[in-house]
């Protein structure tokens, strides 16, 4: 690596960035104002709301046959709350600062609606409450105070747990009004508290043998220092916040860095100079890291300044301690984090062909980065676990531990090493992308768009299957009418798979014979199919058992699946049609037909079989079915690639499903076989594929 060249490009990048006024304003000046303002505004609004609510005198009305008792209860409750109010206790319930005023109104519901009152209470006798239409609720002796949201007095109230004959107080409030909601909530807490006290008093009165020594009180004391408690809060989110700053500031430079150059055409100029790809990438990465760190530094300093000048108030009990060892260790983790972030951003930029495309890729990467950066928030994850190998997530967990004063040096060194390696890998990947011709020369890219029709299909095929998957999931989760055995299979097979395939064929004017691989095969292939059906089923079951060792599937889930798959009310011929013949035809047409055809030139054969198989697996929705289905999918795709035809796969698929059903129906399980059976099945399965190989007629038009 020639560092002189790296320096020249680096200086050039920074110079160009500093001349871009729009970037300076958007990346530096605006966030400097916006982030603190956002925090300030949120905090001020929350405080103002709390203040307003505390100052509010809640206007309420009382109605119902038990109105007097309700009034008496409210009076008693407020007096008790006032008596019990001590600075430490009343804060939690807010009972002491709950100012109430009863208002006499003709029609409480109308007054609530018009805003004249904040809420109203309806006192019902036990009889009246019992007569209300009931909703299923477990019986218990908990306070009978109901809370009805946005319902008129004549509507059915959601009934909390209440014994028969117990009077009921229903609180009506306007859920879309903050004050009404807060008032009703406070009233419910107040009444519930009194009910608890009354219940205890009643129990005592009726001779419950309560001896103080038999009732154990509980108290809690945290032995952590205030700084450790603060550290545990800050540490959980510090990596996330920092990563947000790094991503948002770094992306501005990164997106323009390579993707922008591709768009302007200057990347070709740069690539014809004496600079090597790695030197170009290293210089660009350095510029992203520099800008990201500088902007992050400004942001953090800016936030601290706001805190210092009391524009942003930290919680009162927060104590932040940052000894030098903590700061140095954090820096040692954050610098490779910044380098890794920059490398990933550069990868996106190098992969995209235009600025716009880079922005499109940036968003999912940003979301993913949030997920891993929040690893520190998850309870129970310690740095001394496999998390140490996950970039970013390891920093998040490490920072959380450092902030509470826990320094696990071997693991921290591992985090550092993993992050440096990950950053180096991403940097190398970016450099490789600059050598990838399809990514640096856009001239061939639009040929398919111009040609349209079948030429465009490979570009669109994955979109189709994404939509199909989304529809399948959405329907399975949200349309109960299609949740029955028959309806679901018919809809999936005929509408989602077959319907989509027909649409694809029509839209892209595909040659049906080619797109669906409708080709005859050599007779010997059928011998392989006969061998592959039982052996494939056993091998797939073995794969399921192996997967079960890693992610165990509860027995009840399997039993429920079995019941759903073999409903007693459906005739046998229908079951065979639905779980064997239809999937054998429709799923093969969809996966080994159009999907394979669309991807055949995108991927080399092994990657192609794996991709089609894994997509097929994901369409099997239930988590425990994905791996065995994916395994079968890979094998069926390999069969299609070797035989050049969809027909052997169709017979294998239908045969495997039918055999599986027949075995389950006859009470024979292949899930409990000894391992020798699985080994034998693998051997037979391999023999079947050897036959396919010997009698092969390769799938045409594959990527060499």
């Amino acid at each position: 690596m020639n560092w002189k060249i790296v320096r020249v490009i680096f200086a050039n990048e920074l110079r160009m960035l500093l001349r871009d006024r729009r970037t300076i304003v958007l990346a530096i000046l605006l966030p400097l104002l916006i982030y603190p303002l956002m925090i300030y505004a949120t905090r001020t609004t929350t405080e103002r709301r709390a203040k307003n609510l505390a100052a509010t005198v809640y206007q309420y009305a009382v109605t119902g046959s038990q109105a007097e008792q309700v009034r008496e209860l409210i009076t008693r409750s407020t007096e008790a709350a006032a008596r019990a109010a001590t600075p430490g206790k009343n804060e939690k319930s807010g009972a002491a600062d709950f100012k109430l005023q009863e208002v006499k109104v003709e029609d409480p519901a109308a007054s609530l609606k018009s805003g004249e009152i904040h809420f109203y209470l309806e006192g019902l006798s036990g009889k009246e409450a019992d007569a209300l239409p009931k909703k299923a609720a477990p019986l218990s002796a908990e306070p009978a105070v109901g809370r009805s949201q946005a319902k008129g007095p004549d509507q059915v109230a959601p009934e909390p747990s209440r014994l028969p004959g117990v009077p009921l107080i229903r609180i009506y409030f306007q859920g879309d009004r903050d004050v009404s909601q807060a008032g009703s909530s406070k009233m419910r807490d107040l009444l519930s508290r009194t009910r608890r006290l009354d219940r205890n008093a009643l129990l005592l009165q009726h001779g419950l043998p309560v001896k103080p020594e038999l009732v154990m009180a509980s108290d809690e004391t945290s032995i952590a220092r205030a700084s450790q408690v603060t550290g545990s809060y800050v540490g959980r989110f510090l990596t996330f916040i920092l990563l947000m700053f790094l991503m948002s500031s770094g992306s501005i430079v990164a997106m323009d860095s390579i993707a922008g150059e591709k768009e302007r055409g200057s990347i070709e100029t740069l690539l014809t100079t004496a600079a090597e790809r790695m030197e170009i990438v290293a210089a660009k990465q350095l510029s992203i890291v520099t800008v990201a760190l500088v902007i992050t530094f400004f942001q953090v300093a800016n936030l601290l300044a706001y805190v210092n000048f009391k524009l942003i108030a930290l919680p009162k009990d927060w104590v932040i301690e940052a000894p030098p060892i903590t700061i140095v260790t954090l820096l040692l983790l954050f610098i490779p984090l910044a380098a890794f972030t920059a490398s990933i951003l550069l990868m996106i930029s190098a992969y995209a062909k235009s600025y716009k495309e880079a922005q499109l890729y940036f968003f999912p990467v940003l979301l993913l980065s949030w997920v891993v950066a929040l690893a520190g928030v998850l309870p129970g994850i310690a740095l001394r676990s496999a998390i140490v190998l996950v970039p970013v997530a390891n920093v998040s967990v490490a920072v959380r531990e450092i902030m509470v004063g826990k320094f696990d040096w071997p693991m921290l060194a591992s985090v550092f090493a993993v992050m440096v390696l990950a950053a180096a890998w991403a940097l190398r990947a970016s450099a490789n992308m600059l050598s990838k011709e399809s990514l640096i020369t856009a001239s061939e890219a639009d040929a398919a768009d111009l040609a349209g029709g079948a030429a465009l299909f490979p570009k669109h095929v994955l979109r189709w299957y994404t939509v199909m998957g989304a529809v399948l999931f959405a329907i399975a989760l949200n349309v109960p009418q299609l949740a029955t055995f028959r309806a679901q299979i018919l809809f999936n097979e005929l509408v989602i798979f077959l319907g989509a395939v027909l649409l694809m064929i029509r839209k892209y004017r595909l040659n049906v014979r080619e797109a669906l691989a409708l080709r005859p095969v050599k007779p010997l292939v059928w011998l392989g199919v006969v061998l592959a059906i039982p052996s494939g089923l056993v091998v797939a079951t073995g794969v399921f058992r192996l997967a079960n060792l890693v992610i165990p599937v509860p027995q009840r889930v399997l039993e429920q699946f079995g019941r759903e798959l073999m409903p007693k009310e459906v005739p046998l011929w229908q079951i065979i049609l639905l779980i064997s013949i239809l999937p054998g035809i429709c799923e093969e047409i969809a996966f080994r037909g159009t999907l394979l055809y669309g991807l055949r030139r995108k991927l080399r054969p092994v990657a192609l079989a794996l991709t089609v198989g894994v997509i097929f697996g994901f369409f099997h929705v239930a988590l425990f079915r994905i791996l065995p289905a994916a395994f079968l999918g890979v094998m069926l795709t390999a069969t299609a690639l070797l035989t050049g035809s969809i027909f052997p796969g169709m017979v294998m698929h239908a045969g495997s499903n039918a055999l599986g059903f027949w075995l389950a129906d006859s009470g024979t399980s292949v899930a409990n076989l000894g391992w020798s059976w699985y080994v034998a099945a693998v051997a037979v399965f391999a023999l079947a594929f050897y036959i396919f190989y010997r009698a092969r007629t390769p799938y045409p038009g594959l990527r060499p």
Binding site: I9, M16, E268, T269, A447, A448, R601
Partner: protein
């Protein structure tokens, strides 16, 4: 040994929609020192792909080529160091000034002499002085063209590649470009020049290779091509070869 030697050079693309595309098929030619060698062909004939392979942007899928003895596949950095590449698609950095642009390319290409002196010379030579401190995005097409040529030769490379340099230029700018290329030849540079404009090739090139569908159909000087085909004008000569191929 000739400064540019191409032997059996091929490039096959794999396009998702079209499958295998043979852009360049086993072409052979050499460029002699101090000559302008023209690659003449219609759009999509394989000119740009050939020149991109020689400038190491693209990797050949077959054959070999050397630039001043450096193999384009084995020593790409050494190859790029001794050539200047100009094409209509090689853009400049809009936020740099003309002077900064030339200086940047002189430095990045590791110009051995005094960079400042070289930049001053080029600014003077190409008449850029008046707008040397202006940002490139403020310049007119003609001005940008001059800056572009200056950045191509900023490190004084012995080999120059011009890929359809007059595309998109008006007549006057195109003529100026031709003068500049002639001047480079007079300074002893070896020039590889691609075009689909017959008159340009006729006026500029010492030798011409007619390229069609990725293959070189003929390679000689204009007189040689006339004698073989019996045609006088390059346009007719070109049609003679392309139709003969078809």
């Amino acid at each position: 040994m000739d400064p540019v030697v191409v032997r059996g050079l091929s490039k096959t693309f794999y396009d998702e929609a079209r499958g295998e595309v043979k852009a360049v098929q086993e072409i052979d030619f050499e460029c002699r020192a101090g000559e302008i060698f023209g690659l003449l062909g219609a759009n999509g004939a394989g000119k740009t792909t050939t020149l991109r392979m020689l400038s190491t942007i693209l990797t050949p899928t077959g054959g070999s080529a050397t630039i001043l003895g450096h193999d384009i596949a084995a020593e790409p950095t050494a190859v790029r160091k001794c050539l200047g590449f100009y094409s209509a698609t090689t853009a400049l950095y809009p936020r740099l000034t003309a002077r900064e642009t030339i200086e940047f390319f002189a430095r990045i290409n590791q110009y051995a002499g005094d960079v400042k002196q070289r930049v001053d010379y080029l600014i003077e030579r190409f008449g850029i002085s008046k707008y040397a401190s202006a940002r490139v995005d403020k310049l007119s097409t003609g001005m940008k063209q001059k800056v572009s040529i200056a950045r191509t030769v900023a490190h004084d490379p012995p080999i120059l590649i011009f890929d359809e340099p007059t595309v998109g230029l008006d007549v006057l700018n195109a003529l100026e470009m031709q003068d500049v290329i002639r001047e480079f030849r007079s300074h002893g540079k070896t020039i590889l020049f691609s075009t689909h404009i017959m008159s340009e090739a006729e006026k500029l090139c010492d030798r011409i290779a007619i390229i069609h569908a990725g293959r070189i159909l003929a390679c000689s000087n204009l007189e040689g091509l006339r004698q073989v085909t019996g045609e006088r004008y390059l346009e007719d000569i070109f049609v003679h070869y392309v139709r003969g191929q078809g």
